[in-house]
Symmetry: C2
């Protein structure tokens, strides 16, 4: 990637509340149009996982969930709803850490986050019993959205599906990429030379995570009305990439 | 903070290689001038820790460092230079994890990172024996730079001093804020209501880290020539904040 010297982030205005079955490409193109924007090659669209999940109908009615013994134990230790804990376990490959009020798992998709990314607020189904799971396969969702946009506009953009996650050591949530298509998720600069002709030693850049974190600055948190951010100015050598590239192999993770 | 719907990031062109004693405010204002930019209220400048360290003369000649017994043991286990390991330990509050090729510590400033952020590449002193430590007190450096810019321009901008760090679970480095002045480092949205009138439960946003990660997209890695990024479009309710706010109390960290 050539490092750009200018980058513009624009949150699309006025997207409607997304319903199961909605065509996101259509909604996004309407949002772009109302902002007088047209997609250009190497544009990147960052889309919150929440609206992707909604369009995919990833609702779960907790009244249909029967907690296992493991879920009941963990619910006691974490003081959480046993049905929610059961839903979290079904989305997870392993429990990472827990204590009262906190349940951190390795998601079946590979990343480590609280409650397997299950959203129990701001989901708009009107009822404590409904939760929203993350998209089934966010890399596939990103590829699909990219393909739909390409088919409708002739322009191949990058697509990132973002989630908001906490992290060890540091306070505060940050946008991260859980689905990527059409751009590299990770840049490997090892072997490049610096200004003084020395080899850079271990410079692997989490490009898609940086873009997702940046997009969070304009999409906001409390406002469900701006779930799509257009980022203009990045330049790519390749249009290959997947959020799976951002997952460290647990065998090499010193904090698992 | 009001969430902006548009954000522009601009890397300043043509800053010279920074020397100990250089006045960063002067260099930055010259860079802004050559890009025909003028500071505005609520602009944020993200400055890499590398040039702050250089201006502060934070060089260390490893030939002057005598490794302790602990450093020698750890150097053997990590296959690192015992003098470098000694320098890392002197900058650290605790060793977090290590194995061959990897030494992760809790820095005396609170954050957890590899080699206490000591830079052994791209420092331009011409010699394997010289390393560059992080600024002594990056929050103070940020406050100082903000005050200098305010005195020279009459405009109070936000200043973030960034470092590039790895993280558990995920591949790739990301810009993080290790010094903050003039803007909140963390936003606490707890108690705010979402579109459906529900209370947001635990939405603490790592604002300064998101800004630092975003700035990394235009400052690049291999290129020491663009260490300052101007971010325009953020809006703050307060101009108080410190990178220390981003450090999770180790007593509440499940991964320490």
């Amino acid at each position: 990637m050539n490092t750009p010297d200018r980058l513009l982030l624009t949150a699309l205005p006025g997207l409607p509340v997304v319903q199961a079955g909605d065509n996101l490409a259509e909604l996004i193109l309407a949002g772009l149009e109302s902002a007088s924007l047209r997609l250009q090659p190497d544009d990147v669209l960052v889309v919150t996982s929440k609206i992707v999940s909604k369009s995919e109908g990833r609702w779960l009615d907790l009244r249909t969930v029967t907690p296992s013994e493991e879920a009941r134990q963990l619910a006691k230790a974490t003081e959480k709803d046993p049905r929610l804990v059961e839903a979290v376990l079904r989305e997870s490959a392993a429990v990472s850490r827990y204590r009262s009020g906190v349940l951190i798992v390795r998601h079946r998709l590979g990343f480590t986050s609280a409650n397997a990314g299950i959203d129990h607020s701001n989901v708009g189904m009107g009822g404590e019993d409904w939760v929203l799971l993350l998209p089934e396969d966010p890399d596939a969702s990103a590829r699909h959205l990219r393909a739909e946009l390409l088919a409708r506009t002739g322009v191949g953009v990058g697509v990132i599906i973002s989630d908001t996650q906490g992290r060890p050591f540091r306070v505060g949530n940050l946008g991260v990429a859980i689905g990527v298509a059409g751009l590299p998720a990770v840049l490997d600069l090892r072997g490049h030379e610096d200004l003084f002709g020395r080899r850079l030693q271990s410079t692997t850049v989490a490009l898609a995570d940086a873009v997702a974190a940046a997009a969070g600055l304009v999409s906001g948190e409390a406002d469900e009305g701006r779930p799509v951010v257009l980022i203009r100015g990045l330049q790519f050598d390749t249009h290959q990439g997947a959020a799976a590239d951002l997952i460290r192999d647990p065998a090499f993770d010193l904090y698992k």
